[in-house]
Symmetry: C2
Subunit: 232 residues, 2 copies
DNA sequence: GGAATAGTGTCTTTTAGACAGTATTTG
DNA sequence: CAAATACTGTCTAAAAGACACTATTCC
C-alpha cells in the first residue's frame, strides 16, 4: 500500500489566484500538469512531515511561516494506473513568492490561474483537478470565518492588499469602503503596523495579522456576484 | 503500512449530543473506550467503502440515508503501540436510532455524551479523544452554513426538533421565537411537510429538509453563551 | 493644480436580539 | 377552564449594502 502526499499551494500573482503545478516528466501522464508531491521518503516518515518536506522542496523557501493544513484523502480505485495509491492532499497558502521557483526538483513548475481548472477548460493528471477544486473551495470557505486571508499577504499589508485577496479567491468584486469598515471593526482581525509606504498617491496605512484566528462576526460571502458592473 | 478507518457517529438522545463508543476487548487499550472502526477488509477495498461497511455493521441500519463525510487522516507516530497505523476518520450523523444498537460486532457499544470528552474528564483509547473533538467541531461549524442539522432529524420534524439539534450540538440555549423566524426565512432550508401530529398541547407543523444544502444567510453561532439564564 | 490612491461619512435595508402576547390542542 | 405546547408580532440594535465626499501624496 503506497502513500503519497499532494500539495495544493495557492498564492496571488498579478491579482490572480494561482496554484503551483509541475509538468510530469515520467509515465503515467507524462507531459500533463500535476500537483507537486511525492511518496513518503521512508516507512517511518509521518504524513505531515512529508507534506512539510515537499512544500520546502517545491517552493524553495523557509516553510515555517506558511499555512499548511490537511485537505483530505483521495484513494478512488483507478485514480493511479500504477495501482493502489492512497494520496493525502494538503492545502498550503503562500504570500507572493520570488518569481522563479528556486530549488524546485520538478522540471517545470509554474503558477497557473485556478480558473482554468474550476470550469472544464484544462485537465490535470490523476484526480488532481478534483483536489484543486476542493482546495480552492476550502480556501474560499475559510476566508469567511477565519483570518486565513492574512496568510496570502506579507507580514505587513494594506487594507487594499487584503481586499485583493478576498476578490481573487472569491472571484468577485467587493466595495472598498464597506470592506475597509468591515475588516477594521472585526475585532482581532488586523492590527496597525507602523506607517505608510511610498507610491504614487496617498500612502496606505499598514497592518499585520491580528491575534484572532476566527472572525466574529464572519465575513459572509455573497451567494452570487453582488453587482455585475465590475470596473467600467 | 496498515490503513484503518475510525467512525465518529453522532446522534441526539434525550436532547444530548452523543457519540457511539465501544469497549475494546483486546490489547492494546483493553477495556478502554474507543471509536468503532477497523482495518480495510482487503487490499482492494476503498477507504470510503470501508467506512460505509463499518457504519452499517456498527449501527445495524440501512446506511444509505445517513450523512457520512471524511474528517481527516491521523497518523502521528506512536498513536498506536502496535506500530505504524494510518487511520482515516469519518464523521457520520444519524437520527435517533432504535435503543439497542442491533447487529453490532463490537462487544459493548453505547452512546456517550460528548461533553465528557471535550473537557478532560474521560479519556479514550489511542488519539480518539482528539478525533472526537475534531468531529464535534466539524459538526458545530457545518451547522452554521449547511443544512447538516436536518441529518440529525427524522424525515419530517418540527421546528422545535430542529432547535433541539442546534442547542445540543452548539451546547447553548437559543430563543425559540428568533430561531423559528430564522429557519423559516432562510430559503430552501426547510419545506412544509403535511400537517400536525398529536401530543399534549397544540400540534406542531411538520417540515422536511429543503432543497438547499448551503444556507444563506448562514446561521451564525454566537461566540459565547448568549444569556446565562437557561431554563428557570 | 491634476492625477492617483487612501480614507471617512451617511443613509437605507436587512438581519439579529430581546421580549410579550395569541392560538390550538388535551384532559 | 387550566395546562401544555405552538406560533406570531413588535420594538430595538447591529450589521451590511449603496452610495459621495474628503485627504494625502507625486508630478
Amino acid at each position: 500500500m503506497l502513500i503519497a502526499v499532494d500539495l495544493v499551494i495557492l498564492t496571488l500573482r498579478q491579482s490572480v489566484l494561482r496554484v503551483l503545478l509541475v509538468e510530469r516528466g515520467e509515465e503515467p501522464y507524462r507531459g500533463a500538469l500535476a500537483l507537486p508531491g511525492g511518496f513518503l521518503a521512508h516507512a517511518e516518515e509521518s504524513i505531515q512531515a512529508a507534506a512539510t518536506r515537499e512544500l520546502a522542496e517545491e517552493t524553495g523557501l523557509d516553510v515555517s511561516g506558511l499555512h499548511l493544513e490537511q485537505l483530505g484523502v483521495y484513494d478512488e480505485p483507478g485514480r493511479d494506473p500504477r495501482g493502489r495509491v492512497v494520496s493525502v492532499a494538503y492545502l498550503a497558502i503562500a504570500p507572493q513568492l520570488p518569481d522563479p521557483v528556486a530549488g524546485t526538483d520538478a522540471a517545470d513548475a509554474a503558477w497557473r490561474p485556478v480558473d482554468q481548472f474550476l470550469d472544464a477548460r484544462c485537465d490535470l493528471a490523476f484526480d488532481h483537478k478534483r483536489i484543486v477544486t476542493d482546495g480552492v473551495e476550502r480556501a474560499r470557505s475559510k476566508l469567511e470565518h477565519s483570518a486565513l486571508a492574512t496568510a496570502f499577504c506579507d507580514a505587513v499589508f494594506s487594507i487594499a492588499d487584503l481586499q485583493e485577496v478576498y476578490e481573487a479567491v472569491w472571484g468577485m468584486p467587493l466595495d472598498p469602503r464597506n470592506f475597509a469598515r468591515k475588516v477594521r471593526t472585526t475585532e482581532g482581525f488586523i492590527a496597525p503596523a507602523g506607517q505608510a509606504r511610498a507610491t504614487a498617491g496617498r500612502p496606505a496605512r499598514l497592518f499585520a495579522a491580528g491575534p484572532n484566528k476566527t472572525l466574529y462576526p464572519p465575513m459572509v460571502r455573497p451567494p452570487r456576484p453582488p453587482t455585475l458592473k465590475e470596473l467600467q
